[in-house]
Symmetry: D4
Subunit: 249 residues, 8 copies
C-alpha cells in the first residue's frame, strides 16, 4: 500500500488507477470461483482447491489459472478416483486414493522444525490420516504414521513412546470414543492436533461422540479440528512445524 | 403358587381366598409407596430407598415398615446431611457425606468372588465413587478405590496395573472425555462397569460427552450405567461379584 | 517381567535384548493392523476381528497370522454374505447370515456358570440377538433365545418367567421404547445387559430413544452397551458367566 | 351467523351493527388477557387460567370478569401456595398444594362414561398426577389413582389388572424410562393418555427420555401430551370420557 | 381363572395342568412371531401386522394362522406394492398404494359415535392420512378427509368449519411447523389426535420440528402420536369414537 | 362483505346463498390442491408451486387451472430437469438447472426500490443463490450476484463494498460457519436476509451450524429463513424491495 | 478516500498520515468498548448499548462519550430496574420495566412507510413485545400492539384482520408452538418478522420448539430473529418500514 | 531404564526394588491428588492446579507439596476471589479477578518466538481472554490483547491488521456466532487457536453455536479448544510459540 501511495504522490499513478488497484489487486475472478493469487505471499503456503462439489473441468480451469499466476504447488482435496483421472489427463498430479487428495506441481523439501507424527485409533481412520499426511508432506514436512494404536489396547500405543516423545507436532485421529488425543496429549511435550472421525456405529452419531470427547480432553496442549478434516489437521500441524519461518516484525 | 393350588385342591383354601392371596401377597402398601417385602428372597439383596424427593419422615416410615418385615440391611441413596441427621434420630445409620448415601442395619461380611476396584478419572468424580463404594460394601463386597488416575496422565493409571489385573470387577468413573473405561477395559480381564459423571464444563454438557464416549468404547467387556449413578454401578458390580451365589435350576 | 529381570541378572539376557523384548513382545505388526498375540493369555478369550471396513483379503491375512500364533477360535463380526463366502474359500468358517458374524476354528464347550438368556422386544431385533448368541456360544456359553416378547404385550414375556428366573445372565434387546430391560431387570435376580437397537421409525432416532430409556432404567442390575452392539453384549455376558474362572491373586 | 343474516334481511339489524357484531361477539378484552366468553358453549367445558407468570391480582381480575359472564367452574393451574392464599382472600377456591392447581366454583357431578384411572411410575410423579386428577374431577369425572406402579416391579402393576381392565380412560404418568404407558397400553382396551415427567437425573434430560420412549410405544391406543402436563392429560381424558355428550349434527 | 380353580378343587384338573394352562393359554407360538389369539376378545378390534421388515412369505404365514383362529379382519401396515402383490396371490386384500396399508377380510360396518375427520397441512402429508383413513375405516368408522388446509392459508381451513365442528374425533396431520393441531384444537369441541410428519427440508429435521410444535400446543384436548404414525392415530381415534362400546364393570 | 350484506338486506341474495358465497369465494377445489385465486390480488405477487413430491402431471394440472383464473406469472420450485422437461412439453417455462426452479409466463419489469444483492460464502452455495435470484427476478426485482466471498478471505468481500453499500436488500447465503450474514450485516445499512445452507461436512450437521450462527448474529438488521430456502429469501427480499407499493389504509 | 488521495498527490497529506487516517477514522477507543461514531451517518439509526454484563458505570461512560460525539438517541437494552435507576441519576432516560429497555435522548418523529404491528401469542410473551415496541418507536415508527392472540383461539386473531391487512411490517412473537408467524404470514401482504420466545415448559426447551416451528413456516414472507430478541425484531422492522429513506446510488 | 537394568545385572539393585522403582518414580501420592513431579522436566512448563471443586485448604496443600519438589511457577485456574484471598494468606499469589486465575511463584521471562495476540468478539468475552493472557504470560510469552473487535463491525478488526499480521500465534475468543476465528484465520499467516464462549442468549445454547461455527471454519490454520477454556488456549499458544525450544532427537 505504501508503494502505491508513493506512486500517487509522485504522480506516476493516477488517483483513479490507485483506487482501482487497491480494489482489484488481491484476487482474480474466473466466474465460478475467486482466485487468491496473493495467498502464497501472504500466508507462505501453496493454494488449496476444495474438490467436493466441483467438476473436473472447473478444477482444471482453476489449476490453469493458478499456474499462470506462478503457483508452484497445488493441493486438491476431496476428489474421487474418476475426477482425479480426468484431471490427470490435463495436469501431472500425484493422487492418493485412500486420502482422496492430489498434489499438482513440485512438493517442497522438508524444512520444518521436526517430524509430524500421525497416529490413528483404528484401521478405519486411515483415510483421514492419509489426507493429513499428503497435506503435510506437500507443505514441506517430514511425516511419520502409526496406525491402529487405539486406547483400548494401551500397550500398542506405549510401544511407540519414542516416536511420541521425539515429534515436533502430533496429529491424533480417532472415531468412536476419541480418547487417543487425551492419552497422547498427556504423554507428549509438543502440540497435539486432534481429529475426530465419523467412523463407528450406534451412539457415535457420525463423529459427535469423538468430537465432544476431544473437546473435553483433560490434557493440556490439545486442540481440535472438524470431523474427518485430515487436511485441516495437516495444514495446522505444518504451520506449527514451520514456526522457524516466523518473520520478526 | 404350587402350594396354593394344593391348598385349593385339598379344600384348605377357598377359591376366593386363593384369588385374593395371589393378588395381595407380593407387597404391602403404606400409602405413598409400595413396599416389596419379597424382594430379598427374590433377588437376594437388601432393599434400597431412593431418597431424592422423599422427606425424612417418609423415609423413616419406610424403614420402620421394612424392619417389621425383617429386612436386615437398608440402603438410602441421594440424601443430604440434614435429612441424614433427622433419620439418625430414629434409626442407627452410617452416613457418607461425600456419597450422600446411608446404610441402616448390619453390613454383610464380604462373600464375593474377589475385590471390586473403583477408579476415578479426577478428584471431582469422588462423590460418585463413594456412592458406589458404600453400596458395594453394604452388599457384601471387598472394595478398593484409586482416585485421580485419568488418562491424560496415563502413567498414574499404569502404576496401578496390579490392582487392575487382580480385581474381579472394576467400576470406571469419569467425566469430561470419559476415556478411562476404554483404557481400563483394554487392560483388565474382568467385567468393567462404566459410570459417566456430570463433572466438567463447556462441551461436556452435564455428562453427555462422557456417556457417548463410554457407549462407544472400543474395548470389549465394558457396559454403562446412567450418568452419576454410583449406586447402580455398585449394585451391578456386586451382582457380578456374587455369581458364586448363582442357584442351579 | 519378573522372568526377564531374572534373566538380566543372571546374564542370560543382554540389556539391549531385554529392552527390545519389553517393547516388541506383546504384539506383531502386519502393516494395516496390529495383532495382539498375548490377548488370549491376558484376557482368556478368543481374538475378535471387527469386519466392517476391512476387505476379505485383509481379513484372511489377519486370520492366517492369528492361526500361526496358535489362536484356536476367531470371531469375525459385521461381515456380509459376499465377504463371508470369499473368506470361506480359504478358511473353514461357520457363518450366521442374520447376525452377520462368523466363527473360525473350534467352539469352546460350554463351561460357564449357567445359561445366558437372550430376549428381544420384536422380530426386527433378531439380527442383533443372533450376533450376541453366536458370540456367546463361541466363547463357551449355553445360550437360550426368546424373541418378540416386547412389553406392549406383557403376557408374552410373563409366560417365560421360568427362563428369566433360572438364567445366570440375561441380554435384553429392544428398539423403539426400549422398556424390555427395565421389566426384565425388575423380575430377574441376575445381571441384565441391555442392548438398544436402531429398529423403529419417527422419533426413535436410530436407537437414541431406546438408549436413553435403558440408561434411565429404574431397575437395579441393568447396564447398557452401544446401539446394535450384539457382539459387545454377548462378550460382556460371557465374561460374567465365566466368573467361576476368576484367578485368585 | 344465520340468525344475524335473518336480522339483516328483516331490517332489525343494521349492516354496520352486523359487521360489528360478527367481529366483537366472541370475546371480551381486559387489557392484559383476552377472555373467551363463548368457550363453554363452544367446547362444553369450564374456563382455564394458566397461572404461571400471572400475578395474583391479574388472576383475581380474570376470575371477576369470568364470573360476571356467568362462568360456573374455573380451573387455575400452576400456582404456588402463596398465590393461592392471595386469591382465596377474594374468591372461594379449593387448592391442591401437590398439584399446584385450584378450582373456583362448583365442581360438576360425574357424568362421564366410566372411571378415569391415573397411574404413576414412581412417587415423584405424584404432583403431575394430582394436577391431572383435580382437572378431571373438576370437569365431571370419577377418578381413581394408583401410584408407584413402575415397570421395574411389574407385579405391582399386575396386581391392579382389574382397575386397568375396567376403566374407560387411563392416564399413565412416568419419568425416567417412561415404559409405563406401553405396558398399560398393551393390557388395557381403552384409550391411554401418556404423560412424560421431568423426574429423574443423568440421561433423563428433563423428560426427553420419557417423552421419546412414550412416542415410540409399540402399544396401540396410546397418545402423548407435553412433559409434566397433568392438566392437558386430565382435560383430554375428560373429553374422551364424555363422548356420550357428543351432539349429533 | 375362577373356572380353573374350581376344576382344581374338584380334581378334574391336575395342578400341573393348571399351571401349564395358565401360562400357555394367551398365545400360540408360530416361530417368528407370537400371536395373541385372545386379543380381539380382549380389545374388541382386528389384529394388526406391522409389515416393515417382514417378507411376503412371513406375512402370508401370519395371515394363515390368524384366519385359522377365526380372525375376521386383518390390517397389514407399511408394505410396498410388490409385497402387497405377492400377498394378494394367496389372500384377498384391499391395498392402498398411497397409505402402504392393506385390509384382509371383512371391514366392519361403521358403528362409532360420529365421524372421524382427517385433515392434512399439505399434499405431501396425504400418505400418512391414507394410512390413518384405511385403519379407521377397517375398524368400523365413518371417515372424512380434507387435504392441504395448512395454517399458512388459514381461510382454507376456516372454510371447513362445519366439518370441524361436527366431527367426533379429528386427526390433524402436518409436517414443517405442525401448527395445524393447535389451530384445529382451538376450534373443535372434540378430541384431536396430532400426527407430526417427516415431510419438509432444512430445519424440519425429519419431523422433530412438527413433533415439538405439537407437544407444545397451547390448545387443550390435543394429544400426539409418533412421527408419520398414521396407523396409530387411526387406531386411537377409533377407540375414542367407540366409547359407546364401553362395558360397564 | 358490505356489498353482500346489502344484497341480503334488499333480498337480492338469499341467506343460504350468502353463507355459501362467504365460504366458497376464496378458493377453488381441484382435488389434490386448493388454489387461492385471490392470492395475487391479496398479496400482489405471482402464485408459487412447491414442486417437490408432485408429479409433472400434477404440476401441469395446477398450471392449467391457474392460467384459467388469469394468473400471469407462476413460479415452480424444487423440480429436477426431467420434471422440467415434461412440463415444458405442455407449457412454456424458463428453467434454471442450478436453482431447480422454473418460471412460467411473463416476468414482471423491475419496479422495486433498488437492487437486491445476493452474496454466497462459497461456490457450493450457488444453487441456493440461483433459486433466490430467479425468484426475485420473477417477482420484479433488479438482482446482482456475487459468489465465493466467504469471510475466511475477508478482502474478497471488502472489494465489493460498493455493491454492499448501494443495495436496497441483501441476501447472504452461507454454509459451514455461516458468518457471512454477520459481517455483511455490520457493513450494510439495509435489511439483510440470511440463508443457512446444508453445504459442508463433519460438524456442520446439514446446516444446523450455519443456522445457529446466523440466529446469533451480533449485527442488527439481520433475519433468517430456513436452511437452503433460497426461494423464501428471494420472496422476502422482494417484499421489502417493494415497500414502495405499500397501500396507505 | 478520493479526497485523501488528492491530498497525498498534492503533498498536503504525508503518506504516513494518510495510512494512519484511513485506519483511525471510523472509531474512537474508550478502553472497554470501541465506539463507532460514524455509525449513525452510515446506517442512519441511533446507537445501541447492549446492557447485559455491563455495569451502570460502564453504561454511563458510554453514554457520555456518545453524547460528546453528537449522538441524539441512544437505546440501552437488557438492563434491570436497579441499573436503570443508577443510570437515570446521571442521564435522562425513559425506562420500560417490562421490556427491560431504556431510551436516552430524543425519540424520532414517526417517518416510516406505515405502522408496525406487534402481535404476541400469549400474555407471557409481552416483555419481548415491549422490547420490540420501544425499539421501533425510538427508531421513528408508529407502533401498534395486540397481545394474547395465539393460534389456539384463532378467532381472537381473526378479529384483528384489519390491523393485519393494513400494517406495513408485522412482528409475530410466540413461544410454545410458535405457529403465530405462519398464520399471520399467510394472511398478511407485508413482511413478517418472527420472534420465538423461551416461554413455556416441558418440550418447549427454552424456545427451540418455537424457533424450529418458525424456521419451517410454510408461509412466504416470514423471516426469523433469535429467541427473545425483541430488539432485533424491532430494528429489522424499522429498517423495512424506512425503505422510503433508501438512497439511490 | 538402561541404568536400572545395568544395576540389576551387576546386582546393585534387587529385582523387587527394580520393579518398585519403575512403578513409584513418576509420582508422589498426597492423598487427594497425585502430583507429577517429573512433569516440568518432561514438558518444560509449570504445573497447573484446576481449582474448581477444590477447597482453599486442598489447594494450599498441593502448592506446599509442589514447592517442596522445587516447582517454581504454579498456575491455579477457576478460583473465585474468596478462595484466592484464603490462599494468599499462606502463599504469595498474583490474582486476576476477571480471569479467576492466580500465579504463584516467579513468572518466566518471555522467551518465545514472537507475540501472542488475544482478540475477543465482545466485551463479555474478556474474562476468558484474561484467563488465556495470564496463562500465556506465566508460561513465558509476550501477550497483546485487543477486545471487542467482533465481525459485526469488521472495520474495528481491520484497524488491527498490523497486530494480526505480526503475531506468532493468535487466540480468537468469541461467543454468539463465533465468526471471529474464521475472519482472523483468513487474514493471518500464523496458527489461530479458537475459543468458543458461553456468552449469549437464545439460540446460542451456552456456546454450542460458537463451537460448531468454529469447528466449521473455512479458514485453514484454525483449531479449537473447549468452550470458555481460556487456560487451554493460552497453554496451546505458548507451546506453539516455544517451538524454538524443540529438542532435536
Amino acid at each position: 500500500m505504501e508503494n502505491l501511495l508513493v506512486g500517487v504522490r509522485d504522480g506516476s499513478i493516477s488517483i483513479d488507477e490507485a483506487v482501482l488497484k487497491l480494489r482489484k489487486a488481491p484476487f482474480e475472478d474466473i466466474g465460478y470461483a475467486k482466485l487468491d493469487t496473493h495467498r502464497e505471499l501472504r500466508q507462505g503456503v501453496p493454494e488449496i482447491i476444495y474438490g467436493a462439489g466441483k467438476s473436473a473441468e472447473q478444477i482444471i480451469g482453476i489449476i490453469d489459472k493458478m499456474k499462470e499466476t506462478g503457483q508452484e504447488t497445488i493441493l486438491i482435496t476431496r476428489i474421487d478416483e474418476a475426477k482425479a483421472a480426468d484431471i490427470s489427463k490435463k495436469h501431472d498430479i500425484e493422487y492418493s486414493a485412500q486420502g482422496k487428495i492430489a498434489v499438482c506441481g513440485t512438493v517442497s523439501v522438508p524444512d520444518g522444525i521436526g517430524t509430524i507424527l500421525i497416529a490413528t485409533g483404528g484401521t478405519s481412520d486411515i483415510p483421514v490420516a492419509e489426507e493429513a499426511a499428503v497435506t503435510a508432506r506437500a507443505l514441506g514436512n517430514e511425516v511419520k504414521c502409526i496406525y491402529d494404536v487405539g486406547v483400548a489396547g494401551i500397550h500398542r500405543l506405549l510401544s511407540h513412546m519414542d516416536d511420541i516423545m521425539s515429534s515436533s507436532v502430533i496429529i491424533a485421529i480417532a472415531g468412536m470414543e476419541g480418547a487417543l488425543a487425551s492419552v497422547i496429549g498427556g504423554m507428549a511435550d509438543c502440540p497435539v492436533i486432534a481429529v475426530p472421525t465419523s467412523v463407528g456405529y450406534g451412539a457415535s452419531y457420525e463423529g459427535i461422540s469423538a468430537l465432544l470427547s476431544m473437546m473435553n480432553s483433560c490434557a493440556s496442549g490439545v486442540s481440535v479440528v472438524n470431523i474427518d478434516n485430515g487436511f485441516g489437521a495437516g495444514y495446522m500441524a505444518s504451520m506449527i512445524n514451520h514456526m522457524n519461518r516466523h518473520r520478526v516484525v
